[in-house]
Amino acid sequence: MAITLDQTIAQKQRSRLSEFVGSQTFWVLIAVVLACIFLSFATDSFATAKNLYNITRNVTFVAIIALGMTLVIITGGIDLSVGSVLCLCSMVLAITMNAGYSIEIGIAAAVGTALLVGAFNGVLIAYLDFPPFVVTLGMLSVARSLAMVASNNTVVFQFGPDHDKLLALGGGAWLFGIANPVLYMVILALLTGFVLRWTRFGRYVFAIGGNEHAATLTGVPVRRIKVIVYMISALSAGIAGIVQTGWLGAVTTNIGAGMELQVIAAAVIGGANLAGGVGTAFGALVGAALIEVIRNSLGLLGINAFWQGTFIGGAIVLAVLFDRIRNLRQSE
């Protein structure tokens, strides 16, 4: 044969680009872009600076949590508690600051709470082999209940001496008129992307999702990694909670209710596979963007509120349809 062993070994099967073009993330991105182009022509109000500012900002909260969720999903797990954890962390932040502590202490308390909750989830899942669905479903209930207990179920809207700092943190636009939450989202996405691709930790996350047993046998510290992953997921919810508190300027005990399903939808639309082993940080953003663009467009196009659920539900299914069709074509 003319092809030597060297050549075969050196061969790349597919370039990174062709791989990306074949991915679900790519098709969803195309859908988002097409939708944006369509809306720019169909309505006067879509392609305005103000609307784009709003859209990008609205995307962030779901997107930030979807980054953490993507890690969880890559390991083959799921985290249903994120909406409640967001609520709990916002409340801890609000109460701490309301009691007169500085913003640093408030954020530290919120982050600490998030890490604690995540560690609890993670330890039960990794060390006691609980099903992630069950543990985080329990936590969904517990975390919101604790937020009620902590706040005595009141609206907190006074954040003590650092009130304005907190509002600036979440509501300001420090750079080129881009909303701050968007900056955080981009930074966190780059960080997540970097971790997944370039660090040993990221490699292990994928390995666990691909074949947990194999990862254990080859000496990957599977349990430790899993605990960290659930801590990151809770942390991302906590960060979203802190930013959202700064944006909203008030915390009630029902913020983040039902958010878990939106976040999971965003991650899955962006290409994460609930069976584990597959997912990207970029996909999480794209998935969140698709959901927000649809929501925004329904408002702009003046579509009856009753129908909105149908469109959003339909979009969730359609996003995955691309991927299915491609797979079906390939296998037959």
């Binding site: 030597t4 062993l5 060297d6 050549q7 075969t8 070994i9 050196a10 061969q11 790349k12 099967q13 691709r197 370039w198 660090t199 040993r200 490699r203 994928f206 390995a207 999702g209 691909g210 074949n211 047993h213 194999a214 990862a215 254990t216 046998l217 080859t218 000496g219 990957v220 510290p221 082993g277 597959v278």
Partner: protein, 283 residues
Amino acid sequence: MSVIAFPGGDRRSEIAGVWLIANGDGKPAGSGEDGRLAAVLELTNISKHFGAIQAVNDVSFSLEAGQVVGLMGDNGAGKSTLVKMIAGNFRPSEGTMRLEGKEIVMHRPVEARQHGIEIVHQDLALCNNLTAAANVFLGRELRRGIGPLKVLDYKTMYRRAGEIFKELKSETRPRDLVKQMSGGQRQAVAIGRTMLSEAKIVLMDEPTAAISVRQVAEVLNLIRELRGRGIAVVLISHRMPDVFTVADRVIVMRRGRKVADKSIAASSPEEVTGLITGAIEQV
């Protein structure tokens, strides 16, 4: 990367180069002077139970450098459990292990590797969603960078994995996902892991099940090469011919106990079959 065909004669030095880089130590270890074999590993009264199941029961034996030991036995006889203990996957319920005379207790597979013990698992232990190179380096990724900020060194890992596959004469592309690979290629990836560092002991748990004659021959050749380097090899197999072709010694287990441990020359397939099935009680 070089596209020139790889000349067979060079192979040995090339792979030694790989090890040199990996270990910073090119000297083959373990082979005693002028052919005298030294005991690399010694197991004494090793037992393992899972709840009520006594998987391994009071097994003692020693491995010597440059010796290939065939480990045979019925399904469930405890072979995999035994080698997993040596590889640090399980801790023995009882008994001690001595590596080059020093008692060792291992808590994690990484520690076994640090001691120079490598294993190819029965189910290959591959992650389908990762590339061949990623699988080879799983658990000991190469990284570069300064201080605490270290990133994965993709380039070097691809290159080294390529060199290892070349050494194995396997048409395996380091950048391909394992998911899409044939049985033989998967085998090459799993065996490739053992070649990352200068091992003293290589444990192979049914490396030849379900691969074709061609690849079987390659695996057996590889085992011979390991022996040539003074490495102790444990080969678990249900294939009598494999063991009798390549092994120096055969150990037979039945229901968790060691029932035979003798040199191949002094045994026969018939005897071993009898020992496995229980027709012969013990020798």
